[in-house]
Symmetry: C2
């Protein structure tokens, strides 16, 4: 096959996939190639524009290291991460909804006892977190594992502070007999996603801001139940309507109490779906 | 806006583009976001698969440097580069057709006088190249600038040899009064595109080979005419029907003469479209 036209080249590219290809990879690549070609045809991308696109991806690559993932950031800010999440974790009545994992989760967080401090040495308004893990029928789950992580009041995660090696503003808790887990920390603030790279430049070019509303991340796992990766968002945050990564759901907006005074608190029940 | 579903998130992402966005960027990003979301919905991409995709792009980034461009290779092998070329340079009767630039073009090549050697010190069958640059009406064009580059008989470009700093198997010529330019070189061989990286792994997973048929690259520019970036392919090459980058056009397949004997030759006329 040769002499491809702008129409015939798509079938030519698809036709190259052989019977040696895994059926799922064939399905994914067939759809990907079709949509990528259709995008180019529809927009009449010029060679100069295509090189700009190649340069953009290349620059995303140079920004990636063990603490920065520019391609996840691109996926997040184009709404793809939340779309993948929506497909994997459709909302179900009585079950806590999920949202994006984000790029700041880290393995091996500090173990925090109930009543402990998630943000030792971090200045800012303190908040008492008092939550519960239950099954979808409301029965408390003891021994659930809860990873929690958040940004500082200045809007930075631990990996963005100093040399990034210290673990802070994160920890792993275990729910008590009544399903409760509790700790204190600083009130999370709204912050921008990293916007000093190509994704930040793209957001600016589209006239978009990079802000996320203040939130705490939770990853809750319990035997016999489906895990949930989610956030609690701070009620009243001005960016709830325009989260740069499209992560906000009404059911995840929690009342952190009055913003006045030195201390505030929040209650929330995480309800997990029973495993099939 | 919040509580996005897998359907509503696409309009939400498009709705974030503001009036500050350049109209062309808006057009391109709107189509890109639509097709990317539709690809994810259509194939029901799982979070695990999406992370594999992110890891693939990240690995492409780590393979890029000043001599290797894995994203261009991805574009080439998925047929997108030839699609962009087909849109920019539609075939016109009596005008030499274009094909991919490829990743091996370099600025500031050696200047070669007519009759000179493009491949000094390179062993292999020699071929005398005797070509002409004319206008679409057949009138010879004197003083045209011709960049030519090619792989060695072993299938390597100069940038892939030694430390990659030497310029060889490439040069810049100027057409004589009668439009002719001529030089001698080695017969180019079929070779694989770089396949030790993620794009090579993707080709293997799709059951595809990485080979390109033997060819010489030409970039011909002349005042008052539209430039052409193209190849001459070696007639009889076994990979003409399955070029890994979809670049072959019948009009660019040239008779390099008998493959027997120590020396062979090729004639070709490059016909340029008059500038509008």
């Amino acid at each position: 096959m040769r002499n491809f036209t702008e129409q015939s080249i798509t079938d030519a590219a698809l036709g190259r996939i052989t019977s040696e290809c895994d059926p799922r990879l064939r399905e994914v690549m067939t759809s990907f190639i079709r949509h990528l070609h259709e995008f180019v045809r529809e927009t009449r991308i010029t060679p100069e524009e295509w090189f700009k696109g190649i340069a953009f991806l290349t620059e995303c690559g140079t920004f990636c290291d063990d603490k920065r993932q520019e391609f996840i950031l691109l996926s997040d800010t184009l709404g793809v991460s939340m779309l993948v999440d929506a497909i994997a974790n459709p909302s179900a009545p009585g079950v806590t909804e999920s949202t994006v994992l984000g790029p700041f989760f880290r393995e091996n967080p500090p173990i925090i006892a109930n009543g402990g401090d998630l943000a030792p040495g971090i200045a800012g308004k303190r908040v008492d977190i008092d939550c519960r893990v239950t099954s979808e029928d409301g029965a408390p789950i003891a021994g659930a594992q809860i990873d929690c992580w958040q940004s500082s009041p200045d809007g930075f995660y631990d990996s963005q502070m100093g040399d990034g090696s210290a673990h802070n503003l994160r920890g792993r808790l275990t729910s008590a007999k009544d399903g409760r887990f509790w700790f204190n920390t600083t009130l999370p603030a709204a912050y921008p996603v990293p916007h000093d790279g190509p994704v930040g430049a793209l957001l600016r070019a589209m006239g978009r801001h990079p802000m996320r509303p203040g939130h705490l991340h939770f990853w809750v796992q319990a035997p016999g139940h489906r895990q949930v990766i989610t956030h609690l968002f701070v009620k009243g945050d001005p960016y709830l309507e325009s989260d740069a990564v499209f992560g906000v759901k009404d059911s995840l907006v929690a009342d952190f109490g009055s913003q006045d005074g030195p201390r505030t608190k929040v209650h929330y029940d995480f309800r997990l779906k029973k495993a099939a």
